[in-house]
């Protein structure tokens, strides 16, 4: 048992090395970074973070990202819950085809959709709004949410529904007060996945925004082009993008393994 644990330890070390380097860089001055190699920050500085927290064009990037990710997660879960219930409880015309078609939307390369998305959201006058990005990300998040929730709902015995209806519950009341709480873990996992895929996606988010809803990931690209190559600032911004993910993942840590199995194991 002891010998075996070397494998995960080595693997986790491998995962942490680039992250360590990013964090270490973020505490260095640009001068120190460019002057040569140092394993630890020699002149420890918080200036990079100070710049980000005081410059609106930086910190609004974070607010924008968090806004559209939250809107997307709420929409995805809200519409996926009844759909997943239908798929897990009923047979209806075209159900299997519909389910498969939903999943194929994960296969379309985002690069394919970039330009048409720009035109579509310009046409409906949502360009450069948080809602546009949130709706666009529904393309791949809703199918995933339906898939995960359907898996979890399949594990709830049908007798629960029947008993509730015999007891005189109306459907909406049963759904909201009994059924959804009984798959809390599934909702948490699905929300986590929606958050994750919306948070990490950049191509569509960047295509659909200009100024008002510009995501942090797009703001970062400016460090490379303007004012030389501000590696320290880039590293600090990158470090800050890891934090929301880390917080969210800590909340669902006990469900991760099951969630990754889409509730189907």
């Amino acid at each position: 048992m002891q010998k075996r644990s070397i494998v995960p330890i080595v693997y986790i070390l491998f995962l942490m090395l680039p992250i360590y380097w990013l964090v270490a860089m973020s505490f260095k001055t640009t001068n120190e970074i460019l002057s040569g190699f140092s394993l630890f920050p020699q002149t420890f500085t918080l200036d990079n973070y100070k710049t980000i927290f005081t410059d609106p064009s930086w910190y609004w990037g974070y607010i924008n990202s968090i806004l559209y990710v939250s809107i997307n997660t709420v929409i995805s879960i809200a519409v996926a819950l009844p759909a997943a219930y239908a798929f897990s409880r009923y047979r209806f015309l075209g159900d299997k085809q519909l389910f498969f078609w939903l999943l194929t939307n994960r296969m379309a390369p985002a690069a394919v959709f970039a330009l048409p998305f720009f035109q579509l959201y310009s046409a409906v006058e949502l360009f450069d709004t948080h809602l546009a990005v949130a709706l666009a990300h529904c393309l791949f998040n809703i199918p995933l949410a339906v898939w995960i929730l359907e898996g979890f709902m399949g594990g709830v015995p049908k007798e629960l529904d029947e008993t509730a209806f015999v007891d005189g519950y109306s459907f909406p009341r049963f759904f909201a007060t009994i059924f959804v709480p009984s798959i809390k873990a599934g909702v948490g996992v699905a929300a986590f996945f929606c958050f994750m895929f919306s948070w990490v996606e950049l191509l569509l988010a960047k295509t659909l925004t200009a100024v008002a809803a510009k995501p942090i990931a797009a703001t970062m690209t400016k460090t490379a082009s303007s004012a030389g190559y501000e590696l320290g600032l880039l590293a600090a911004a990158g470090t800050l993008t890891i934090i929301p993910g880390a917080i969210v993942i800590w909340f669902v840590r006990n469900y991760i393994a099951k969630g990754f199995a889409m509730g189907r194991v």
Binding site: M1, S5, I6, V7, P8, Y11, I12, F14, L15, L17, P18, W21, F37, L39, V79, P82, A83, R89, Y90, R91, L98, T104, N105, R106, M107, A108, P109, A110, A111, V112, F113, A114, L115, P116, L120, L135, L139, I142, V146, M196, V200, A217, M220, L234, G238, T241, I242, G245, A246, V248, I249, R253, N254, I256, A257, F260, A261, M262, R264, V265
Partner: protein, 287 residues
């Protein structure tokens, strides 16, 4: 047993509306472009299937497609066995399990362009941790902006770093669902470790591994942001994968027709290969 109920359609309607809005309209736009030629100003000319023929015959497309298959092949051949091996050696219960899972999932929660930027900083020849170590400690000359082999090793390593955890977590979810009784029975029978793996663990992981392989195939085949930020497709065209080439044509050269035709061919290949994988891996279940 599921009951037949056509009213269930009403539950599915919001999902259908939202996804159709996002999928069908852009898809129709792409189809529309793919059969026309434009010189700007919204003037279009019917072009028929010319773009498709042109793309299918072009060496540039073949080269990008070849690189794309090479990349995806390397990713699957490395990440799947590695992920299973790591999942097998993880503890099954105790304090360290959630810690391991959280740390392993961390790379997947980093925005994709940050992943590219992070690996860029990490591999800079003189000031990056890995670049410095290879060049100045091990004495291996390494510069991925000059050397195509180094660029390939770097993008593959980056993807292994980024996504192996997905396979680990899926395989692990399959493993923890195996009841202890199976292992006890195997012990009584005197089964070797290999036999336990081959006849108990692997079959039990089959469903989740199917999901893992499918997801890894789709995502690595469609990968864009990370290699674009890291290498920009270079040096030369050596790491210009299919989607990078596509964006170059669509947004760089603004050749909408060829880009649209290429998108559709690209999508068709992804669908076809995913379907092949899916059919092959679930074949036994049907019999």
């Amino acid at each position: 047993m599921k009951t037949e109920n056509q009213k269930a359609w009403f539950f599915v309607l919001p999902v259908l509306a939202l996804v159709a809005f996002n999928a069908l309209i852009p898809m129709m736009t792409v189809v529309n472009y793919s059969v026309q030629e434009t010189f700007g100003d919204n003037v279009f000319f019917w072009q028929g299937l010319d773009w498709f023929q042109q793309i299918l015959r072009s060496d540039r497309f073949h080269a990008a497609l070849g690189r794309q298959f090479m990349f995806t092949f390397l990713i699957l051949i490395i990440e799947v066995p590695l992920g299973i091996a790591i999942a097998l050696s993880m503890p099954r219960k105790g304090f360290w399990v959630p810690v391991c899972l959280v740390l392993m999932a961390l790379p997947m929660l980093i925005p994709w362009n940050v992943v590219g930027a992070m690996w860029n900083i990490f591999t800079l020849p003189d000031i990056g941790l890995l670049g410095y170590f290879l060049n100045h400690v091990l004495g291996i000359s390494y510069d991925m902006t000059q050397d195509p082999v180094a660029a390939w090793v770097t993008i593959v390593t980056m993807d292994v770093w980024h996504w192996t955890s997905l396979v680990v977590l899926l395989a692990y979810a399959g493993l923890v669902s195996i009841p202890d009784a199976y292992y006890q029975a195997a012990k009584i029978d005197g089964a070797s470790n290999w036999a336990v793996f081959r006849f108990i663990q692997l079959p039990k992981m089959k469903t989740v591994l199917t999901i893992a392989i499918l997801l890894r195939f789709m995502d690595s085949f469609n990968i864009y942001t990370e290699p674009f930020v890291l290498t920009g497709g270079g040096p030369g065209n050596s790491t210009t994968l299919l989607s990078i080439d596509l964006v170059k044509i669509a947004l760089g050269q603004f050749d909408l027709g060829p880009a649209a035709a290429m998108s559709l061919i690209y999508f068709a290949i992804t669908l076809l290969v995913s379907w092949l994988f899916y059919t092959l891996m679930t074949k036994d279940d049907l019999n």
